[in-house]
Symmetry: C2
Subunit: 200 residues, 2 copies
Amino acid sequence: MTRMSAPRPYHHGDLRAALLKSAERTLRDRGVGALSLRELARDVGVSHAAPGRHFKDKQTLLDALALDGYERMNRALAAADRPDRPFEERMTALARAYLGFAVENPELLELMFARKHDPDSSAQLAAAVDHSLGTFTRLVADAQEQGEIVQGDPERLTTVAAASLHGLAALIAGCALDAEETLAGLDTHVHLLLHGLRPR
Amino acid sequence: MTRMSAPRPYHHGDLRAALLKSAERTLRDRGVGALSLRELARDVGVSHAAPGRHFKDKQTLLDALALDGYERMNRALAAADRPDRPFEERMTALARAYLGFAVENPELLELMFARKHDPDSSAQLAAAVDHSLGTFTRLVADAQEQGEIVQGDPERLTTVAAASLHGLAALIAGCALDAEETLAGLDTHVHLLLHGLRPR
DNA sequence: GCTCAATGTAGGCAGCGCCAACAATGCTGT
DNA sequence: ACAGCATTGTTGGCGCTGCCTACATTGAGC
């Protein structure tokens, strides 16, 4: 019995993961606008309705991509943190990790910070965001304890730092800033953030 | 001759403006994802292909919306600037103007900073971005001249300030920050930005 | 007043997301 | 062992979309 090119068994085995992987690649290569469930199904080699078994919605798939993005980013942030180092060094390392992720996954970042999410996913996404912010909040709290930064509502200080970094990321993603140049000047940027724009 | 409810003349008169106006409303009410050229045509009362006479593309219409957004934003920034005032006051006023615009036009802002633009529009959009940044660059240059802020590459200092504000805007747009709360704490935010996080 | 460019209309095409009906598969209890 | 059933994949179809082409109407310039 010659069977030509071993047809895939009726059941894929791990279609959900395969779809996410393929979607992640398309997202990176051609942007979120080019993502289509039907093309995704073709790429993976299943019928056009198969993805519907794993993602009730296109939005649900996008949310799953975003969640995966948060998990990777949070791992990167955790790996970059050096709690035993002085504040500025820690902050710079975290900034580098965050911006590195942003530069390499601009479309994904856009998805992660998009305002539209399925209600079912938003709880998990909110938790992931909290986890990311938590890394910075911990840093701020530690630094306040050591007297390395000013007192005051730690949440506000975290916001100042996070907004600065996220702004850089967003400007890079929007091509308003050059990625390499920004990364090269990141130490100075963080220094200015910590020491202020006013002369001392 | 009774003509019932005076049918619109064959030529609309200013279809382009009408389309942009209707699109802006839909964008604000239901987001960019809900924008459809055909629905737009129905709303304005023309045939489904009429918009194509004024916008070669859907992207071209989005770019036109973004450009209009920049013009309104730049007017708001220009109106808020008070060149005769001290640096911190000027910066706070600009920050308030920018964030006010961001809070009231989150979807539009997303469009303005989107990475995908038609090549024909991108020159005008780049000019509009430069105009926006120019307001801040001028502020930084003035302040350096007065010795109110540190010396150094003014472009870098502008980036620090712009990234911070844009980050706040993006976080608000992504619902990661509460709009009113952020606006209420804006003075403090700018103060921290200027004076740094480190104790003096 | 004729001509022509500009602008609006009608119809059609392929692709999309989503849905419902059906088919193949593998798990589970007896 | 195998019947029953939930899971997962397939097929077909609906209405929508953006875009294209051919045609109709209009206003402006000669």
